[in-house]
């Protein structure tokens, strides 16, 4: 009995971690700047490829993963300074611009890197509960998701950067009047969002086969989590991931992956009919 319950919890934790990690970077960029980064999947892909290349060059896996996240973050800052910052007063256009970038990058990678690379294989190690065997790396992923949310909480609530960022989010004009260099805040926030996308890719890199279009595996989940969570990553993403994770786990067990994905999407469409600003918008409004 305990083993069955553990197995269900384990599957839930796995889905939860996937949703949180896939959505965190997207949610930060959306919360700060009100734009949806359609090149999110390509930042994830970047994290994956850098990690795999690093491991193939002989780096230890955690170092390669850090490098993957860092590379995505740096590319994010460069992209913000060259393209995105021109489009802040035109949110729909910024989506289109990132979509254009996404197309260019995906197809460019198909041309330069070919259609598939050899993967690096999931780190071994497993443990047993009752008669079921579980992969330890999945627990690492869950721990990473919890740590990412914790780190984001500390970053936004306990550091000077966090105060400035929240001020910019609430009222950019006033923040600027008080001397906050808002362009710098935007650039770093975009960088943090991109780095988190890269980290997501880096963490899942060992579990996947590499193709340049693999970002698509993540983006549907990332989008729906952000839509349900709303604009505030700290209070929106976790509850959204828990609700969607529960729906997804139940449907996966009942009918398989694809029905799980579609069921989750239908749930999202129903949720936005009731909570158009997502969980965090609803929570903030209730407390006001």
């Amino acid at each position: 009995m305990f083993a069955e319950i553990f197995s269900i919890l384990f599957q839930f934790a796995d889905v939860f971690a996937f949703l949180v990690l896939a959505a965190a970077g997207l949610a930060i960029i959306f919360g700060m700047m009100g734009i949806i980064n359609l090149a999110h999947g390509e930042f994830i892909t970047c994290g994956i490829y850098v990690t795999v290349a690093g491991v193939q060059q002989g780096l230890p896996l955690p170092v390669a993963q850090a490098l993957g996240a860092l590379t995505a973050g740096i590319i994010g800052v460069i992209l913000e300074r060259t393209v995105i910052h021109r489009l802040y007063n035109r949110p729909l256009d910024s989506i289109l611009a990132t979509w254009g970038i996404s197309l260019i990058v995906t197809q460019g990678m198909l041309v330069t890197l070919g259609s598939s690379w050899a993967g690096i294989g999931t780190p071994e190690g497993s443990f047993q509960v009752g008669e079921y065997t579980f992969s330890s790396y999945r627990l690492v992923l869950f721990a990473a998701a919890v740590l990412v949310m914790l780190a984001l909480y500390l970053l936004f609530m306990r550091t000077r950067y966090g105060v400035l960022a929240r001020a910019t989010m609430q009222n950019p004009q006033m923040a600027r009047a008080l001397g906050v260099r808002t362009p710098w805040i935007y650039a770093t926030s975009f960088g943090v969002g991109a780095a988190l996308a890269g980290l997501c890719g880096a963490l899942y890199a060992p579990t996947m086969t590499l193709i340049p279009t693999m970002g698509i595996t993540f983006i549907v989940e990332a989008f729906v989590t952000v839509v349900v969570g709303g604009a505030n990553v700290l209070i929106g993403t976790v509850p959204a991931a828990m609700v969607l994770g529960a729906i997804r786990t139940a449907l996966n067990a009942w009918q398989g992956q694809i029905i799980g994905q579609i069921g989750m999407l239908i749930a999202v469409i129903l949720v936005i009919r009731v909570l158009p600003e997502g969980v965090s918008g609803w929570l903030l409004r209730r407390n006001r």
């Binding site: 254009g100 197309l103 839509v227 009919r273 158009p276």
Partner: protein, 351 residues
């Protein structure tokens, strides 16, 4: 009669004057006699270009006139395309029945759009989220159809066939005295051309009428439109359903043209194409969308012959450059330039 024709002109379209309609007649006449001297293969290929324009016009109505950006055009394209396939295969489709299948499939797309649109528009999901939810729906639908390879995925006699796509449905067939006309190559070209003419003129009537004026008012300021007493949601939903049904029409015609449809025509990168055509052309004008979409399709196919990847990179670059340097769209800018030059020429030299 004259009044009826005047209803085609109005503030919501760029080309209204005598010069515009003369050039319109010239282009139409050219398109009508084109099959007389062209190779039948090229005629079929031109029909293929025209098929996609319905979808672009629908997006222009939603995005350019009403201000709701849907990333789901290819979803409704696919729903209607598969719908046509399933119906045509199951009822055997001879004679006018193919047109019944066409109407049913387009209605299917319209009803799906009405359901999805109801939840979003009446939930007051706008702007960015509208795009994201339609996008996620499109990708999930494509992923769903992608995995329907097994024999258990069949509707009646029609196998969905997963990523290989569904084939074997009959082409459109027009009952005629002395045997039916199969709408292929030249016949299909004429059918699509006339249908496009009807849709284009119909949309012009629509946007220059009261309905279109309300749509534009909503685009400019939804709150003000609402305070003036219009039920904004009803108009937005209507525009969304019409636009998506036009995407469905493209889907049916595409499926009937190639007797084939795959999930790849819905997912990425296909879902980006209508957005790119319409953004590049200029979403705020139907004529600009029509001309620009045709131009881009022609360019895309020419480059695809050498490399599909390079063609897609170019399309991505077109989108990025349009957003950064010409957000109103190239064709709309050209249209405005022509209008200014024309106005200057008729007004005579400035005093």
């Amino acid at each position: 009669m004259r009044d009826r024709l005047q209803a085609l002109n109005g503030p919501q379209t760029l080309g209204n004057g005598r010069a515009f309609w003369i050039s319109f007649a010239v282009v139409l006449a050219g398109a009508l006699i084109y099959p007389a001297w062209a190779d039948p293969y090229d005629v079929g290929n031109s029909a293929y270009f025209l098929i996609w324009i319905f979808m672009a016009l629908g997006l222009s109505l939603m995005w350019g006139y009403t201000g709701i950006l849907s990333f789901g055009q290819t979803a409704f394209f696919g729903i209607a395309g598969y719908g046509y396939g399933v119906i045509a295969i199951n009822i055997g489709a001879s004679g006018g029945l193919t047109f019944v299948a066409l109407l049913c499939a387009v209605s299917l797309a319209a009803v799906s759009a009405a359901v999805l649109g109801y939840f979003m528009i009446y939930g007051r999901v706008g702007g960015v989220f509208f795009g994201i939810v339609t996008f996620a729906t499109t990708l999930a639908l494509a992923a769903f159809l992608h995995q329907t390879a097994g024999p258990e995925w069949a509707i009646g006699k029609a196998r969905l066939n997963g990523f290989n796509g569904m084939g074997g449905m009959s082409p459109l067939e027009l009952p005629w005295f002395g045997g039916p006309i199969y709408l292929e190559d030249t016949a299909l070209y004429y059918f699509v051309l006339l249908l496009l003419l009807a849709v284009y003129l119909g949309l012009r009537l629509l946007v220059n009428g009261r309905f279109g004026n309300v749509l534009v008012a909503i685009r400019e300021d939804p709150l003000r439109a609402e305070l003036l007493g219009y039920d904004v949601r009803k108009f937005q939903l209507a525009a969304f359903v019409i636009g998506s049904a036009l995407a469905g029409l493209s889907g049916v015609l595409y499926t009937a043209w190639g007797q084939f449809i795959t999930p790849a025509s819905m997912g990425l990168p296909a879902a980006a194409m209508p957005i790119i055509w319409v953004a590049f052309s200029g979403r705020s004008d139907l004529t600009a969308t029509l001309v620009g979409t045709f131009t881009l399709l022609l360019a895309f196919q020419t480059i695809t012959i050498y490399s599909q990847q390079y063609a897609l990179i170019l399309m991505g670059a077109v989108l990025l450059a349009t957003v950064l340097f010409m957000p109103t769209g190239l064709m709309v800018e050209i249209g405005r330039l022509i209008r200014r030059l024309h106005a200057r020429a008729t007004a005579g030299p400035a005093p």
